[in-house]
């Protein structure tokens, strides 16, 4: 309802122009994709794509769909049922599990893939123990399964919050209208939580489409594999760029569909007061069953893979010095997290003004998330080397010397790629953190004499610091796990834990890959615990007591 005309002065009143920072954020996120699109649209047309269309493209497309589909199915079932159990029932250990169930997000999917493939491959312990009956976890269904094991927290979190905050009376009403418990769940609680679950599923599908490390290790011929093959195998950057566009379009479709159904479902938020739900108490064997069910995903996504890798690490000790790599991983992750949080916050501030530029910027920034790391890296290289080619002659004309910095040679290129991919992930949490600062609060502070800056510092900041930290930590974990862009863009003598793990794993030296894999997960677990507890405390806040 806010008219842009009246909103803009309010933003300017704040004393700093958040919109321009939001535009900067959008540019950073969207620029690499735009560069890729440019390459795709203006490059020479060889016959490679035609050849591909006749041979492998259908395979790539179907397997990408297969992977995303299996991942969506697995995370949907797992996340929704866990969300319901934690939000609406009571059983021993529920409160503890409530936040622990978020932790598998710290495990990179490719790490889970290393471990599970090793366990189930011919000659591995699970294979020999079951005499070949246990299937080897590989291919598209295997990759989808791995994503289910480690990405279900996306759906779990959103479903849990939706179930906790929806009106419990609707479920009760269905019961009084003759629905047995299962029918009442399927026809009231579930449809009312659908927007939240759909948002989680969209995230899961985009991550599984963008992944490279897992699908390459498990041999799933998806579009992202085809993309890298077109680039490195066939040496055609232009064709790789074109395939990237296909991926981006698919991601945009998912994005768009999710938004569309969210808009339609705006009606789904309960109107009026809602009674906090009374938990269904599960006693006796039911409680034990619930507890076991909740422990299962933790075992599948965390304990079993980490256990196997620990075994491998101990039996084939790594001789590589991991200290430098650890420091590098940490430095990159912390830097990217801080900048991403700042960008996310500015975009969130800009969005409050509801100006058209701010909204478009936020949308553009979201594009970055849809893109595989390899594509982002290609875009970054294209932009930076293009800039370099413009800068060099100008500098030489001006100073007679060579421009001292090789733009693609430093860590900044890497940070650029990370921000492009992950800054969007910080916008959402920043927005929701900022939404706790209502206009009424603002008005109260201002009428009490605080300037916009003071308001920001004394009222906004304490309210949003938790959510912002959360956002930053999420980006931290993502950067820690990131593989393809890092492999392509990193500077000399600058390995990260993820890169080391992958190169050993790709070279079938899983023992050496184990230690860095475990380190990534452990380092990611710490911030994940903070995020998990923060998110759980906010949801448990008023409702479940």
């Amino acid at each position: 309802m806010a008219v842009t005309g009246t909103a803009a002065p309010r933003a300017a009143q704040k004393g700093f122009n958040a919109t321009s920072l939001a535009v900067v954020a959008a540019l950073i996120c969207a620029a690499p994709i735009l560069a890729v699109a440019w390459i795709a649209l203006t490059g020479d047309t060889g016959d490679y794509l035609a050849h591909l269309a006749q041979t492998r493209l259908p395979t790539y497309l179907t397997h990408s769909a297969y992977v995303a589909g299996v991942a969506a199915l697995g995370t949907g079932l797992l996340g929704t049922s866990l969300g319901w159990l934690i939000a609406r029932t009571q059983f021993p250990g529920r409160e503890f599990l409530g936040w622990v169930l978020i932790l598998p997000l710290a495990v990179p999917a490719y790490v889970a893939a290393y471990a599970w493939l090793d366990l189930s491959t011919a000659g591995g312990p699970l294979y020999t123990a079951t005499n070949g009956l246990f299937p080897t976890i590989r291919g598209s269904w295997g990759a989808g399964l791995m994503f289910s094991f480690v990405l279900y927290p996306y759906v779990y979190l959103l479903a849990r919050d939706a179930f906790a905050s929806q009106s419990a009376d609707a479920y009760d009403a269905a019961r009084t209208l003759g629905s047995p418990p299962w029918h009442a769940f399927m026809h009231t609680a579930l449809p009312m939580a659908r927007p939240a679950i759909a948002a989680g599923l969209a995230l899961v599908m985009m991550e599984s489409l963008a992944d490279y490390g897992t699908v390459s290790h498990l041999g799933a011929p998806t579009l992202s594999i085809g993309l890298v093959r077109a680039w490195s195998g066939a040496g055609s950057l232009v064709d790789a760029a074109r395939l990237s566009l296909v991926l981006v379009v698919v991601a945009l479709l998912i994005f768009g569909l999710e938004r569309a159904q969210r808009r339609r479902a705006r009606s789904v938020t309960a109107s009026g007061k809602t009674r906090p739900a009374q938990r269904f108490v599960l006693r006796g064997w039911k409680g034990i069953a619930a507890l076991s069910f909740c422990l299962l995903p933790l075992a599948l996504g965390m304990f079993i893979p980490l256990g196997r890798l620990a075994y491998l690490a101990l039996s084939e000790p790594s001789t590589t010095n991991l200290l430098d790599a650890s420091l590098n991983s940490l430095t990159l992750a912390i830097t990217a997290a801080i900048i991403a949080a700042a960008l996310g916050l500015s975009t969130a501030y800009a969005l409050r003004s509801k100006g058209i530029i701010a909204t478009m910027s936020a949308r553009a920034a979201g594009l970055g998330y849809a893109v595989p790391g390899a594509v982002a890296a290609v875009g970054v290289i294209a932009i930076l080397s293009g800039t370099q080619q413009i800068l060099d002659p100008i500098w030489r004309d001006l100073t007679g010397a060579v421009f001292p910095i090789l733009l693609t040679g430093g860590a900044a290129a890497l940070i650029f790629a990370y921000l492009s991919r992950f800054a969007a992930a910080a916008i959402g949490p920043a927005e929701s953190a900022l939404s706790r600062v209502t206009p009424a609060l603002d008005g109260a502070a201002r009428t009490l004499g605080a300037t916009p800056l003071q308001t920001a510092r004394r009222v906004h900041w304490p309210l949003i610091v938790g959510g912002l930290t959360s956002a930053g930590l999420l980006v931290f974990v993502e950067v820690l796990k990131e593989l393809p862009a890092t492999m392509i863009l990193r500077p000399f003598n600058y390995d990260t834990l993820a890169v080391i793990a992958h190169s050993y794993a790709a070279d079938e030296r899983l023992g050496e890959a184990a230690m860095p894999s475990i380190l990534i997960t452990l380092v990611a677990l710490l911030p994940m615990v903070f995020v998990a507890r923060y998110l759980s405390s906010r949801s448990a806040g008023g409702q479940d007591r």
Binding site: D169, T176, P191, R194, S271
Partner: protein
Amino acid sequence: MSTPILTIRGARRRYNADTPALQGADLELQSGTITALLGPSGSGKSTLLRAIAGLEPLDSGEIIGGAQSWNGPGPAVPPEKRRVGMVFQDYALFPHLNAIANVAFGLNGSDKKKRALAQLEAAELGHKANAYPHELSGGEQQRVALARALAPNPAIVLLDEPFSGLDRRLRSELRARTIASLKAAGATALIVTHDAEEAMAVADQLALMGGGRIIQTGTPDEVWMNPASAAAARLLGDVDVYTGQIANGQVSTPLGDVPAPDFKPGQLVDVLVRPAAISVIPADDGAYAVTQRRSTGAELAMTLKAADGSNWRASTPAPCDLNAGDRVNIKLNQTFVTVTNSAG
């Protein structure tokens, strides 16, 4: 005397160690009647309602629907089998379904849409059949919720504060419609409310609730005229209470002597005086002083101070020239005075 359609005996329910919600509630509902359950917040009204619906278990006590015991021995009868309809405080319309789908939710068969539409039209909402809950006003939502609860022809309809949250004018109009719908359906209804005026306006039978128990049942007239205790009286309106001792078949109060023939001498009793019991007669040397006066439209509400310093509320029809500081004498109308055993 026909079998009540619902009997509750000794219902007890406690959520945590500190506060028991129900402490032995007894209630009977006769078929086709509307009962209002009146009590302050926290008296256990909603808990009782949910226990009747089967949404919550009882710790002890019985709920008997018709001839069948609903809560044991053995597993309790689940809500979907009890044929108890319920209108929730926040209406609990399914936000993802439109009005007609909401109403049809509890129906089966190929003609359920038709029956749902008929129900909506009876509520004069046929033209909004395809609207979603968020597109309906508060009053419309309530009517849809009622239509939905009535559609499957339940034996009993429970309404949890169905008119709260609406503005005053809407409330009385909606009340009338609701009662009309219930009567037309021949439903047995139990309406929970904390508003005395509302309770008296809708009820065939009034049940007063306090401290987890039903403290009095009866028609609104009976209960208002003869409250069983000070607590019961307070639930229904303003009342002033004086505690005194029986002597010579009466009890002496600052307002005069009140006959109380049914009590033993020396017994401690509460004298419950409604403002309507006190008529004021202006007199310059009157025994009572007017300390406050307030207009309530057709009447004037006053507070009088007696010789012993006690304060009494009185009302007199408007217009009235009395102001604060004036002195008056009073006449006590015994119809509106009740004497009960003292609560201690």
